[in-house]
Amino acid sequence: MDFLQPTSWTDALAARAERPDAVAIAGGTDVMVDLNFDRRRPGALLDLGRVPELREWAAEDGWVRLGAGVPYSRIIEELAIQLPGLAMASRTVGSPQIRIRATVGGNLGSASPAGDAHPPLLAAGAVVEVQSAARGARRIPAEEFYTGVKRNALAPDELIAAVLVPTAAGPQQFCKVGTRNAMVIAVSAFACALHPDRKTVGTGIGSAAPTPRRAPDAEDFLAGELQAAGLWDSRGRLPEELARAFGERVAAAASPIDDVRGSAAYRRHSLSVMARRAVTWAWNDLREAA
């Protein structure tokens, strides 16, 4: 097995194009597991750890451009204000050791329905920037990026450059259910983002469908009800029934399965509870901020 170590983004893209048999490796916390279990034996590993561009983030008018190789530990430390939902999700990933290695780019690369970065990216309306040597860069909205169980929209000659996440204009929340209080793969997860500037609501559901997905019905329903009741402007209390109805719509958007981690029925139930609670916290944060 060859080990390719480009030291620039251009070289990385060139290597990606030249070696279709290579597997990209960032933190390696998914790739090395696959190698250890002999699930993959690629002809080469394309190490992205020495590509400086990937390990940077920058604020660009209303967006944070987060390099694919920024590890969770840095998101927690450096981006809790700008990207609160993603920072909260990052906090739940694995253990301290994993958070120091593992990256959002890797989470997107693996595209597991249980990946914790996905729900907040969906809720925030993030865009994935991918690039190839041949065709240059293109931008894929997060919700179009996940194409199936552990499949994504990346072409074979492309790498993920960055993810562009709108800087939070309002409160965000992330909740994750696991059967242990730390170091656990999500049984179900939910993220929501309030966008008071646009008077819209964003959602993201994890571990409860073949791909991470939004709950568009729930988003439209809540935004509309808030509008109808004049709550976006008055910042009055969020009626409990509204939060509950929102939770039910989130649960209805899921298509969970029974597996060793939990039952489909529990996944749906827990989503309705998490969504109700999370949106209430977010709304209360919004009111306090007013």
């Binding site: 939990g262 509870v273 998490m274």
Partner: protein, 765 residues
Amino acid sequence: MSTEAGTRTTTTTQPSGRVGDSPLRPDGTLKVTGEFAYASDLWHDDMVWGVTLRSPHPHARIRGIDIAEALTVPGVIAVLTADDVPGENAVGLEHADQPVLASEFVRYEGEPVALVAADHPETARRAAQRIHVEYEVLPAVTDPRRAMDDDAPAVHQPGNLVRHLTLRRGDPDATAPVVVSLDFEVGMQDQAFLGPESGLAVPAEDGGVDLYVATQWLHVDQRQMCLALGMPKELVRLHLAGVGGAFGGREDLSVHVHASMLALRTGRPVKMSYGREESFFGHVHRHPAWMTYEFGAERDGTLVYARARTVLDGGAYASSTAAVVGNAGTLGLGPYRIPNVAVDAYGVFTNNPPCGAMRGFGCVQAAYAHEALMDELAEAVGLDPVAIRQLNGMREGDTNITGQVIDSAAPVAELLQIVRDMPMPPPADTSDIRSRPGAVGNTTHGEGVVRGVGYAVTYKNVGFSEGFDDYSTARVRLEMTGGEAVATVHTAAAEVGQGLITVEQQICRTELGVERVVVHPKNTAVGSGGSTSASRQTYVTGGAVKAACEAVRAVVLERAALSLGRPANELRLDGGKIVGSSGEVLVGLGEVLGEDAVEETVEYRHRPTHAIDPETGQGDAHVQFAFSAHRAVVDVDVELGLVKVVALDTAQDVGKAINPDAVVGQIQGGSAQGMGLALMEEIVVTDGHVRNPSFTDYLIPTILDMPPMQVKVLEYADPHAPYGVRGVGEPPTISSGPAVAAAVRAAAGKPLRRVPIRPEHITGT
């Protein structure tokens, strides 16, 4: 973790390191810094690697095995099947019913079928995939409750019953004014030791083999290996390698015969080391249990009768199922006074993974049932959970359900009182996300959270029971080295992380009055130390070391008496000197010993136990009982079914704390393991297939799941045991889980008759 061990401080290191002190363990720092050499670190310059091909089917007939293609893989040195087993193709702890390599049938998923040795582990793995086994898949018995049905396929001839224990005492048909009953189910727990199975077999010039391996009992391994290899024990030598935890999972053989076969065939040292996934298939698990219990009581709560029916899933091979049934039956009603009893405990064969020894051994499962039922009874008669247990709790001098008199301390009521009186934890700190149910998952900011408190108490036999010849051997030598008196202690008793090496040193220091004690590497060059299980090593091997020291001391003092012209019984050994009755130094040890070494080897036996009556289950089955109680405090998010254990406090009688730090360590670890079964640890088996053979989905508690503990250690000496010790390791694993389950029931207001309790059990979705 904050701890309180009786009146002792548990953090200071006593320089002298005698019995009752807590000297630092030699392996402690190495383990924390990652430098300890575990069996998986074994290395030999010209070694090759062995791997095992395992059955993908829970039950199948082997029609043929074609190894030709595997042999062509470059780097492959040998491929072996059942035909290559040199001796008898049968091993087993209690019954030799398990093939070394499957020949005609495979009876569980993961059963070893063939072996490969190659110059690289990956080559060996790839070659194993090129062994073509033709299987005829057979119907599998996977529901143990159906295993005894007439129409169930037989896993073994003549049938699927491993053991049926019947126990009848008093009037088995007694009636009572208050009756409570329940069904309880316990899932399959794994020992989840951190160091997977590993060993290195080195062929010797005399035609024999030296096996370096992580195990719990070198001599029981040796016995089975000799039969399977067809070799006398002089040629099958075992050496203990660094053991990364055991908990019962290393009582049965793993790589032993396989690595030795490959080494003898290839003439090369062979290393075998399982990965985590293979480890889940490479050792037995705790028996899942299905239990139906009924208690009858007076209106004041005094027990009148108890009836219990327990089915334990033994899986495909016998392992220690019969002995586990023995415990689940004879100890299955807990530490209570019950005049009229009818118990039926069954262990059965199925095509599920083999089950055998695990910390708590049959008592763990039973405790969930009797403790849940005790809470039911409390409710029925209007008592609180502590009062009902104190009312019915065993006392010294009582007779248990097998008719055995409890002839030393049985402080059930006191242990319960201690845990009840311990300070309660403060209300949840809602400012710290980690202290809420769901922790960093951020699932509640206080919504749905209900606090619950639960109690449980247990008693567990220490040592091997039912007439087993349970002994240990120790060889102790005293000599002068470089002007200093040095004792060397040699036993074959396995150090698996519990701290036995330190205990052996402490005993030698105490008995021989020397500072320096060398612990000889553990191997089969000395007699059996018995099993590192059943909470028995400090008692039995500790007893052997003490006895060997006494024998050495007697010789030394006799010599000193001769030269000093004083009676030996007026002399003592202290600080490397012979001292008189008032402590005056009479002569140095060097002058008495000169160039000589005094060496004695002693076999130590505890009081004999006895088989129980086959019809009534009556008899003095056990040698000693150890008691513990737990109080659990939990916060449950009842809407999401998530649990945060806030406190898990305990009191335990250890007879005598030889090493108080080690005692508290055992209690903390055992409590965590017990809590794990209550809340998360389960090997999920569907149709005979293990669905979660990894630490991704077999969850064990983390630091955020385990609360700080208050630990109270009582020391009521057992007059029959060396120093008065009582086994320590298992009781915490038994009473912790049921206390947690009770606390969750109290918070959730649901019966919750199965562990591990899953979130959906609490929410009902």
